[in-house]
Amino acid sequence: MKNSYRYRWAILTCFVILLGWVGCQDDDMLINQMPAEDRDLTMIPFAPDSFNLVIPEGFPKMEHPEDNPQTQQGVLLGRMLFFDPILSLDSTVSCATCHKPELSFTDGLAFSVGVGGRTGRRSSMSLLNVGFHGPVGLFWDGRAKTLEEQALEPIVDPNEMANTWEEVELRLRRHAEYPDHVRTAFGIQRSSQVTRDHVVKALAQFQRTLVSSGDSDWDRKDRNEFSLDDDAATGEELFFDDIFPDAECGHCHNVKLFTIPEFRNNGLDPVDSVDDYSDKGLGGVTGNRLDNGKFKIPSLRNILLTAPYMHDGRFETIEEVMEHYNSGGHHVTNQDEDNVDNLIRPLNLSERNKREIIAFLGALTDSTFIKNESFQSPF
């Protein structure tokens, strides 16, 4: 009887240890150890519902690829994938690691940190209104023409998720839930049919939902529902050159998105020749050396939430940014190839002017957007 009692305790102890050991295993390791079952999904209904995207009045039309219409099921899948580290090599990095909702989908770092603590060479861009990217494409250098094309890169970038698409597809096919979601969004029939195409399409659909709420102070002022305080109101006039001195901001940060679909060299670095830019930006994509030093113009909506600034995060504060532009920046010494924008010249703004412009930029903060429940992690 006593031996039987000990025997039972030994079995129970082994069971608890086994349970603990299994519980400590990484989920993805477990998934990888599962047999590669090719599940039939046809019992799951495929009847996607169109997504009702709400765009504030006066915003441009958002264009959706014909082969990737936005659906509720696609957006949900994209949201899950966006916040799920399953896409990265060691399941530690998700899209949201570098694009945090509370920071307007940036990460607060000069250079984003990927798998193994590796860092890239550029700062993560805000995803606010990313669906309105227009003809300039995505990334600081515009190398991806669509959100679908863009989403292919971070998964395999060694400084970001460092994974392979083959591994991602394998994990998702074996996953307990993702094949079902891909079925409801895209109508696959078997779990083995999950591909990278579904992943990038779903991510793109989710990212196209990241639209301004239209509730910033400036938006409400624009609809005559709110009055900016004196500093912000004067700042707006300086911003759009309505009063002197011209701050010239509005040329590149025009309404309603507070950007324009172009690339510009904003004179960050003193160089003798355009060949001397350490980061070639657009020139690295086009191969045209007179595009060197040009980068995509970021939106100023939520700009006070997205420090540090510039493609390499060199400015920690918005005051430093103002000082850069007020100083007139740096032109290329060789004037024959000076491609720095003509508006980069001393502005003669006073300290008060600068404070007023920053007050105006504060009116572009969209707190409703960053708190939107639909943009938070679903896990």
Binding site: G58, F59, P60, K61, E63, G134, P135, F240, D241, D242, D246, G250, N254, V255, K256, L257, T259, I260, P261, E262, N288, L290, Q335, D336, E337, D338, N339, N342, L343, R345
Partner: protein, 245 residues
């Protein structure tokens, strides 16, 4: 059988007419070339501006109501398009292409700018492939499209360094300017491709009526909608500065 023929024959005729008409359509390319003192303008290269060194690095403008005229009457090619001279490493050129029905034409006309009925619209009213969708060519302060941009740098000290940036943007309904140019020889569109070579003489754009040039150093920017002196001169000079080669 007769009944069948009477049904098929009209369909065949219609098909023939459609195919036949389509074959007669041709292409007309408006090849705009930026010039300076009679030579092709290379963006950012030094040119002589009334004795001073100057570099032009931005020249772009809207063209509206583009019309071919001639024996075949008036044909509107396009409502509003944008000409943006590019070519930082070579001649600055831009081309607009149109599908044109057969006919004979000996005159081209267009307006620089955006017509008043469209100038009350905004970029968000258009899809991204339309010329008027570009937020870079709309100015909130004026509530107007920017009809043209002409930018560059001028040597004000005479030391060979183009030290002063000039930026002339215009955009008010009263600046909407018609340009009429006879073609050097009539073009006959008949299923073929036709090129019309249009030179925009940039030296002329800065000339004052009655002689002399705009004093760039005295007024290097034109932003204020209430001060249209320089934009008026520049826009008006398109009338004579645009010629057919």
């Amino acid at each position: 059988m007769k009944n069948m023929l009477s049904r098929i024959l009209p369909i065949c005729l219609l098909l023939f007419m459609i195919i036949g008409c389509d074959e007669d359509n041709g292409t007309v390319n408006l090849n705009f070339a930026a010039m300076y003192d009679g030579d092709p303008l290379v963006m950012n290269e030094v040119v002589d501006y009334d004795g001073s060194a100057m570099r032009i690095n931005v020249s772009e403008f809207y063209v509206s109501e583009i019309t071919l005229s001639g024996e075949s009457g008036n044909l509107t090619l396009g409502e509003t398009e944008y000409v943006k001279f590019t070519g930082q490493t070579g001649d600055a050129r831009a081309t607009l292409s149109f599908d044109v029905p057969p006919g004979s034409y000996d005159q081209l006309s267009f307006f620089i700018g955006v017509p008043a009925d469209k100038n009350v619209t905004k970029p968000e009213d258009y899809s991204s492939d339309e010329a008027l969708a570009n937020t870079a060519t709309y100015w909130q302060g004026w509530q107007s499209y920017i009809f043209n941009k002409l930018e560059g740098r001028l040597d004000t000290a005479g030391f060979g360094s183009t030290d002063l940036t000039f930026i002339y943007h215009s955009g008010k309904d009263e600046l909407y300017t018609e340009v009429v140019v006879p073609l050097s020889s009539a073009i006959a569109v008949d299923g073929n491709s036709n090129n019309i070579e249009i030179d925009v003489e940039h030296n002329d754009l800065f000339k004052r009526e009655g002689g002399g040039y705009l004093d760039i150093a005295a007024k290097p920017s034109a932003h204020n909608p209430d001060d249209l002196e320089y934009p008026t001169v520049i826009l008006n000079n398109f009338k004579t500065g645009v010629t057919i080669r």
